[in-house]
Symmetry: C2
Subunit: 239 residues, 2 copies
């Protein structure tokens, strides 16, 4: 299943990871939280709807409809609307805050910690996520993700897919864009990274949207690497 | 030698570390680098002079004499002047770049990795350094410093002692200033942190400026903790 474009990976020094869906399983983690809070909603649908609100919210910031707003606050805005839609009216402010914090406690995919640990032995591994720094740091501590460095849209005050984010990774580490490889389970994220000169590795994550949804995980020939998971990516990069 | 102010540490969640001098030994690392390059200079004096150029350079940025400039570039400006003063004229550009990179390769004090690892078991541990993110990440990878998160003046675009840096740590983690403890080998850094409401831990590091210099490491009663090193700090905080 895996493939490596032989010209691609030779000069890579830094692996920059998308996080939501690529490293952690938001769908299952949110379903579990909703169930543990005994909310009277379909956990699958609730998780999907929360995540579906994400890109429209990001776009509002990108196009200036909203001032710069951290993901924690965007998640909360989406959640408040969602609770109304799903007719959940009994939650206290403290419970809403706790529920919104689920994004800090997302579980890693089964291969993530082993894959990252192996990749770290040869590369600098960092996040390049739209998640805010505190969210990503709390998640890493909770899930034992061994990042060398947490990079976030918060640092560049631009959200992916703004080129400032992809190019920002190269700038932070003083390397060329072609020495950075973006790793993601989303072809559009990788296409934007590639347009900035980064190498790209696709990770399938067919269950990202839960078992009720079909996800197209077919390879794209322009990616440097295609792999099913992070352990397979480590093997493909000889780690 | 160690003391803990009993009211102080109870609510602390995040330990934010000064890095140069507190976690890593810049003096010995630079001396070693200068000797390995066989520069015809007094390594002790060269290291002291390089570091002495640091605060004046930071002040130029703080007072607007210089636009926002990363530490890597400030270190290089100081180095260029220093090479002239010390009459080192034969270095090629590539060698100067390598020498300037020594700040990415500073060695930890003997107790740093053990102390941080123990502290990490109970607290979120992060840097709050004027060093740029890439420098701090490269240093952490090289010295195996197990940070949960790398915070830097680069994120806040303000240098310590600007309050935006100390308060920025609390903001990133969504906690109160009093839930953050600044750890440093410099009383002035801690005084500024305290003025922002942070708790403070002093670490002595009597050899910070090398054996030729006397450093006053006497306790200040306003610090929450006084400790000789990071292992002692871990013990003082029951880690």
């Amino acid at each position: 299943m895996e493939h490596v474009n032989p010209q691609g990976a030779a000069h890579v020094k830094v692996l920059a990871f998308d996080v939501f869906g690529t490293v952690v399983d938001w769908h299952k983690s949110i379903m579990r939280e909703v169930q543990s809070m005994k909310l009277d909603v379909d956990g699958d649908q609730f998780a999907l709807a929360w995540r579906a609100g994400y890109m429209p919210a990001i776009r509002k910031v990108m196009y200036g409809e909203l001032d710069w707003t951290l993901i924690d606050d965007l998640h909360r805005m989406i959640l408040d609307a969602l609770l109304e839609t799903f007719q959940v009216t009994h939650l206290k402010e403290e419970e809403k805050r706790k529920l919104n914090g689920v994004w800090h406690r997302l579980d890693p995919w089964a291969d993530s910690v082993e894959g990252l640990t192996r990749l770290k032995s040869r590369y600098t591994i960092c996040t390049m996520s739209n998640g805010n720094i505190g969210l990503l740091a709390n998640m890493a501590k909770n899930a034992r993700l061994p990042w060398d460095c947490i990079l976030s849209a918060e640092i560049f005050r631009k959200y992916k897919p703004d080129p400032a984010t992809y190019l920002g990774v190269a700038k932070v580490f003083g390397v060329e864009p072609g020495e950075v490889m973006m790793v993601a389970a989303h072809q559009d994220d990788l296409a934007h990274a590639r347009a900035c000169g980064l190498k790209t590795a696709y990770v399938e994550r067919p269950l990202e949207y839960g078992p009720s949804q079909q996800k197209d995980v077919s390879p794209h020939p322009d990616n440097t690497v295609h792999s099913r998971n992070l352990v397979e990516l480590a093997a493909a990069l000889n780690c």
